[in-house]
């Protein structure tokens, strides 16, 4: 009797989920495997159909050691993402802290900060950057004057130049992360802070000892989300190269497939490094 019920439940459940299973096999699993096989082959699209010939690691060897442009672009993507993701996450956290203060009209700020998420597409950002809308007035002059490099060590000046140059990336790509942090902050119980305050903790201390440790899950989610968003955004130069390689008759689809897999693995590596870097601080609560 009970077993029959279990079985019926399982069948009903699968009747809801089967569309996902079918879709996963057809549109995710099979293409993933096929791209992997392509990446080890020379793939030619001919009139009769697709011709593949196994060539081993040749595509990867070409991509990593011979294709200077791809190598440089991936290295640049790796370094830049590794730097910008923590900055975006920290910025989103700071803004979420500010928005968590009970102020009249804070809903308006929320609306403003989230607006870019809705309107951001590759071409829109590109136009704004090309036409100079993405640079704050004054900053350009400051950078051009080179005053920054006179007054600061080179490392700091480099960092500041990078930050100012990519402020639109930092701000415009942090909308969802701000909301995620804010949702986490709003779940915190004010009674804990009151108790801490009575015990003599300053707001600074409560922040480090209470607020931050309870944001662990949110930090992980935001790191993952930010890496994905940065990686799949249309202006990512690596994506442009993959796209170009697809249409380039010299290389063929096999080469493009190898590029796609390298890019995917680099993205996972970035995610792994950032999550590992965030972990030690998290474990010692």
């Amino acid at each position: 009797m009970r077993r029959g019920y279990r079985r019926r439940e399982a069948l009903v459940g699968l009747s809801f989920v089967w569309i996902w299973i079918a879709g996963f096999l057809i549109f995710t699993c099979y293409p993933l495997v096929r791209t992997l096989m392509f990446s080890f082959s020379d793939v030619r699209v001919t009139a009769e159909g697709i011709k593949t010939a196994y060539i081993g690691w040749e595509n990867y060897r070409k991509a990593l050691f011979l294709d200077v442009e791809f190598g440089d672009t991936v290295a640049g993507y790796f370094a830049e993402t590794l730097v910008i993701v923590p900055i975006i996450v920290v910025f989103a956290f700071i803004v979420a802290l500010l928005l968590n203060v009970k102020l009249p009209g804070r809903g308006v700020f929320r609306t403003i900060y989230f607006l870019p998420v809705v309107i951001t597409s590759g071409p829109v950002i590109k136009q704004l950057m090309d036409q100079g809308a993405a640079t704050l007035p004054g900053i350009q002059d400051m950078l051009a004057a080179g005053r920054l490099y006179e007054t600061m060590p080179e490392f700091a000046a480099d960092l500041i130049t990078f930050l100012l140059g990519s402020f639109i990336t930092i701000l415009w790509f942090s909308g969802v992360q701000i909301l995620i942090f804010l949702a986490g902050l709003q779940k915190l119980d004010p009674a804990i802070y009151e108790a801490a305050s009575i015990d003599g903790a300053s707001r600074w201390e409560s922040f480090w000892k209470l607020t931050l440790p309870s944001m662990n899950a949110m930090i992980v989610v935001n790191i993952v989300y930010t890496v994905i968003m940065q990686s799949v955004f249309a202006l990512n130069p690596v994506i442009g190269l993959i796209q170009d390689a697809m249409y380039d008759p010299r290389h063929g689809l096999g080469y493009a497939a190898a590029l796609a897999w390298i890019y995917f693995l680099v993205m996972l590596a970035i995610m792994g490094i950032l999550l590992l870097a965030a972990r030690p601080r998290m474990s010692n609560r």
């Binding site: 569309i19 293409p31 009970k102 607006l115 993405a134 701000l171 995917f264």
Partner: protein, 313 residues
């Protein structure tokens, strides 16, 4: 007489101005100042875009005109609209964003409900896989998918968007499945059980009881899905194959289209050159539909995380 500060008064002043658990006046002002400052930087590119889009050629050259154009010069918009074939593109853009969004949301609701409500072998593994698909960039799967659609003759058709969406493999489908999973889990089971005792079958319960209770999840999923499909350019260029266009795609080819349209024009010297004002007008036209949608639905966006309960309880 020496003025001596009462220590209690000092403490009280500090509490009012800076605050202890509740934020004080000075603290709030400081936060307010920062919020306004950040908000300004957020919106600066849009201010720039709006003001430049109204400038005529003289305004662009005139060094005295930096932010406020001398008049509302609408020719930029007329030209940009012509270059992008605005109304036709807008119609197609609405189609290729609304249709996949509806299909994707419906599919995610069914799938999310299945994962949230029923136990079956392999459920945990399958659900983990569904979430893992979020991490897979479309670039890794798009070549075989493209070949598949080409063999089926679906390149250039909306179905190359709809079919994966209907099977829960659209843009970021895993995220939407997660939204519905969390939402259906947070709905108390008692109502469904009551209906079950009254003899309603599982599909009837889903349609009549669970779906109406999940309206917020439907709205949130639809809006995000719509916006992401709207702004998608890589897959749109590949799958829709120039047959269906979107505003972002037209903006991507803006300069080339403009040259094609006006290169042979004898007036090319007299202000018909592609300048930044026309670029900005094109960009503005591009995001106006989204701004309108955002204006009416902003709370669904900004409260999406809390309302969908995606962060878990």
């Amino acid at each position: 007489m020496k003025f001596r500060l009462n220590p209690y008064a000092l403490d009280r002043a500090k509490r009012i101005l800076w605050g202890r658990t509740e934020e004080g006046v000075v603290y709030k002002l400081l936060v307010y100042f920062l919020l306004v400052l950040i908000g300004f930087v957020y919106l600066y590119p849009l201010f720039y875009m709006v003001t430049y889009s109204f400038m005529d050629t003289e305004d662009l050259i005139n060094p005295l005109v930096t932010y406020i154009p001398s008049g509302f010069y609408l020719d930029n918009f007329a030209q940009a609209a012509r270059v992008m074939d605005f109304f036709r593109t807008l119609g197609e853009n609405l189609l290729v964003s609304f249709a996949p969004a509806i299909v994707q949301t419906a599919a995610a609701a069914v799938i999310g409900y299945g994962f949230a409500r029923f136990r079956f072998p392999g459920r945990t593994v399958l659900f983990a896989l569904a979430l893992a698909t979020i991490v897979i960039p479309p670039q890794v799967t798009m070549i075989p998918q493209f070949l598949m659609f080409r063999d089926l003759g679906l390149i250039g058709s909306i179905f190359s968007y709809l079919i994966p969406a209907a099977l829960g493999q659209g843009l970021k489908s895993g995220l939407f499945i997660l939204i519905f999973f969390q939402f259906f889990r947070s709905i108390p089971k008692a109502l469904e059980e009551a209906a079950q005792i009254d003899g309603a079958g599982p599909y009837r319960i889903f349609a009549v009881i669970s779906v109406p209770m999940a309206v917020p999840a439907f709205i949130i999923s639809f809006l995000f899905s719509m916006v992401w499909y709207w702004n998608e350019t890589l897959l749109a260029a590949l799958y829709l194959g120039g047959n269906l266009s979107t505003l972002p795609l037209e903006l991507q080819n803006f300069a080339a289209s403009f040259q094609r349209m006006f290169a042979g024009d004898p007036n090319a010297q007299t202000g018909r050159n592609l300048n930044e004002a026309i670029h900005m007008a094109g960009t503005f036209l591009n995001i106006i539909p989204l701004l309108v949608i955002y204006f009416f639905t902003q709370r669904w966006f900004t409260e999406s995380i809390e309302r969908s309960g995606i962060t878990g309880e």
